[in-house]
């Protein structure tokens, strides 16, 4: 064997290898940081409210640290090449959410409404369950391409999950939206889990059908118009999302599923026309349904004129519609936070009362950390989405690409819908801020989502196998021309 045996050896000095370092130590360092920040916040809240470092500081810090440590060790063992940022970012958001929930537990105003101080320990339990599911995903799902086999089973599964809240006796109507089911005393939001299952179905389906959707089209006014029969799938998904809107009266879930489908369709086909169609169809659907659905009308009115809703609520007007002051209170919370915020534990976001620690949790951060803090938090969400898209770019199989895009797109949409709703940019919908808001289903499902993304990124970033593992290369001798 001469020195020309392996061409890559000559260039190792000038051309680096692809993604060889596993970056697990980077992840560990960031994780320590990501656990330390919530502990700092926790101490800060305690000092501000009770003038003392909270008694639970050690156990709380150890609890979060232990969960993060277990997750890290599992990643180190079972997904060694996975993205180093996703786990620390999610841990930080989860930790900050726990602190905010604990901080709202301390509020006398909220204690008067609910039974005192039970939300934070429960949320810690949900986090533990979420990490357990995350670990389970990494252990059981050795290769994300296995999911491709379950394309149509996923479709059925997602439909069942979406329709469960409508089953009499199982579904629950909580504050106007029917997106919960009640099993053994626990309220579960199946829509959160449907998000992941549906992404699997869309990815598997679009991978097979995307050529027909992309190529068979006519050009009209600079846009590619799809053939009539290719409109089938988008019409079906649209119809289902409209049905969700009508029967479950939940704008958020409906928007999330249709939006995720349009994003994946666009990525699969590279046709801008799908985005135009998607926007037109969702606008038409939302306006059409809003014209007769009172729950949605209320939401739109509260969005257009939150002050009027606030006054009606204060006056106690009873006209068949629930008037709520929470939208206005949330805006005031953001406003009084200013640039640098009032400091953790020193705001009055508990005035939002109901749902202050779930849908409106962002308002607490907006008031107590100010614009500077909110920007940081939104950036952290943005980084999670960016890592998801980066994973999609790096993935070598189309299914993995589409799945990663779908999951991160759904995550991004959810953040947009909730943050936009709380800040008054769009009508408020009944969705939860991923990882931060109080709610078991949301935390657990989003940890599973991060697990799937880590699995895809592990496959994508894993260096190609060593040459020795392929005996074929040795056997074939080539006759040079």
């Amino acid at each position: 064997m001469s020195s020309t045996t392996n061409p890559s050896t000559h260039h190792t000095s000038t051309i680096g290898a692809i993604g060889a370092p596993s970056r697990r130590n980077t992840e560990l360092a960031l994780l320590v940081f990501a656990v330390a920040i919530p502990v700092f916040a926790y101490a800060n809240v305690g000092l501000a409210i009770n003038n003392e470092v909270p008694a639970g500081l050690l156990s709380y810090g150890l609890g979060l640290g232990l969960l993060a440590g277990v997750a890290h060790l599992v990643v180190r063992k079972f997904a060694p090449y996975a993205d180093p940022l996703l786990l620390p970012l999610a841990t930080l958001l989860n930790g900050l959410g726990l602190v905010a929930i604990w901080r709202l537990d301390q509020s006398k105003l909220l204690q008067a409404i609910r039974q005192a101080g039970t939300a934070a320990p429960r949320q810690l339990m949900y986090t533990a369950l979420g990490i357990a599911l995350f670990v389970g995903v990494l252990l059981l799902l050795k290769d994300h391409r296995v999911l491709q086999r379950y394309t149509y089973i996923s479709m059925v599964g997602a439909l069942i999950l979406l329709l469960l809240p409508l089953v009499p006796g199982l579904g629950q109507d909580i504050y106007g939206a029917k997106i919960w089911i009640s099993v053994a005393g626990f309220s579960i939001q199946p829509g959160e889990f449907a998000k992941i299952v549906l992404a699997v179905f869309f990815a598997g389906y679009l991978m097979v059908k995307r050529d027909a959707l992309a190529l068979a089209s006519r050009r009209f006014m600079g846009m590619y118009l799809p053939r009539g029969r290719d409109l089938g799938p988008i019409l079906v998904v649209w119809a289902i999302s409209i049905l969700i809107l009508v029967f479950e009266t939940d704008l958020g879930t409906s928007l999330l599923f249709f939006g995720m489908f349009v994003i994946m369709l666009y990525v699969a086909t590279e046709r801008t026309s799908w985005i135009v169609f998607g926007l037109l169809m969702s606008a038409a659907g939302a306006i059409g349904v809003a014209s007769f659905e009172s729950h949605i009308q209320t939401r739109v009115q509260a969005w257009l004129d939150p002050m009027r809703e606030y006054q009606l609520s204060r006056q106690g007007v009873k006209d068949g519609i629930i008037h709520s002051e929470q939208a206005m209170q949330a805006l005031w919370a953001f406003g009084s936070g200013g640039t640098l915020g009032s400091g953790l534990g020193q705001g009055h976001s508990d005035l939002i009362r109901f749902a202050a620690n779930s849908d409106f949790i962002l308002a607490t951060f907006g008031e107590e950390l100010g614009l500077a803090g909110i920007m940081a938090i939104l950036l952290i969400y943005g980084l999670i989405v960016e890592r998801g898209i980066r994973t999609a770019l790096a993935a070598r199989d189309p299914f993995g690409k589409l799945l990663a895009v779908g999951l991160s797109g759904a995550f991004a949409l959810q953040v947009f819908v909730v943050a936009g709703g709380v800040m008054g940019l769009i009508p408020l919908t009944g969705m939860t801020m991923p990882f931060m808001a109080y709610g078991g289903s949301s935390v657990i499902a989003n940890w599973a989502l991060i697990g799937v993304l880590l699995r895809i990124s592990d496959t994508a970033r894993r260096p190609a196998p060593a040459p020795a593992s392929n005996p074929d290369a040795e056997m074939t001798q080539v006759v040079r021309p």
């Binding site: 020309t4 045996t5 392996n6 061409p7 890559s8 000559h10 260039h11 000038t14 051309i15 680096g16 290898a17 692809i18 970056r23 980077t26 940081f33 990501a34 920040i37 700092f40 000092l47 501000a48 180093p84 940022l85 620390p88 970012l89 391409r145 491709q148 991978m207 995307r210 050529d211 640098l340 915020g341 009032s342 400091g343 950390l369 500077a372 803090g373 940081a376 938090i377 950036l379 952290i380 980084l383 960016e386 890592r387 980066r390 070598r396 199989d397 189309p398 970033r461 260096p463 190609a464 196998p465 040459p467 392929n470 290369a473 074939t476 001798q477 080539v478 006759v479 040079r480 021309p481």
Partner: protein, 169 residues
């Protein structure tokens, strides 16, 4: 708790939060894990981003074989056309399989590709060879359909269905 302490904590917390964001962004910056090409002398063209659809620069063609191989050994495989455009795979002496099969190194999503369509591997001299694995629609090197394992000149387009790949420095 004094007002001053709380103010310091408030600002300190924001600083720490932003520090985390900045550190995370720095990690991303050092995490650009594609091929890292250090430019050498005048060979700047080879280091350009791999998004172009144009064929490789003409001076790179037909320089395989003989003593020039040491300098012109390709280091990466770039997909230049098709749904996977922009994908790169580092050539590190491993066999690269192409096809629709899920376990291929590059999974082609193409109706004209066979499950195990072709493979690219280095021979004993380090010359990269493309071999058609009995595909239905054939593998083309430049314009000619492959019948035997053939050495790949640098920058020559290899066409499989709608996908075009080439080897680059």
């Amino acid at each position: 708790m004094s007002e001053l302490t709380l103010t310091v904590m408030r600002l300190g917390f924001l600083a720490v939060l932003w520090l985390f964001v900045i550190v995370a962004v720095q990690v991303i910056r050092t995490d650009l894990f594609g091929t890292r090409v250090t430019q050498r002398g005048a060979r700047r063209e080879a280091a350009r981003p791999q998004t172009g659809r144009q064929a490789a620069p003409p001076q790179q063609r037909g320089q395989q074989g003989g003593g020039r191989q040491r300098r012109n050994a390709p280091t990466k495989l770039v997909v230049t056309e098709g749904t996977l455009t922009g994908t790169t795979v580092a050539l590190q002496g491993q066999t690269i399989t192409l096809g629709r099969a899920h376990d291929s190194t590059i999974v082609l999503d193409d109706d004209y590709a066979s499950s195990r369509h072709a493979r690219i591997y280095p021979d004993r001299d380090g010359q990269w060879i493309v071999e058609d694995l009995g595909s239905t629609n054939g593998t083309y090197l430049d314009r000619s359909r492959l019948t035997t394992p053939t050495p790949i000149p640098l920058g020559a387009p290899i066409r499989i269905g709608k996908t075009v790949i080439e080897l680059r420095k």
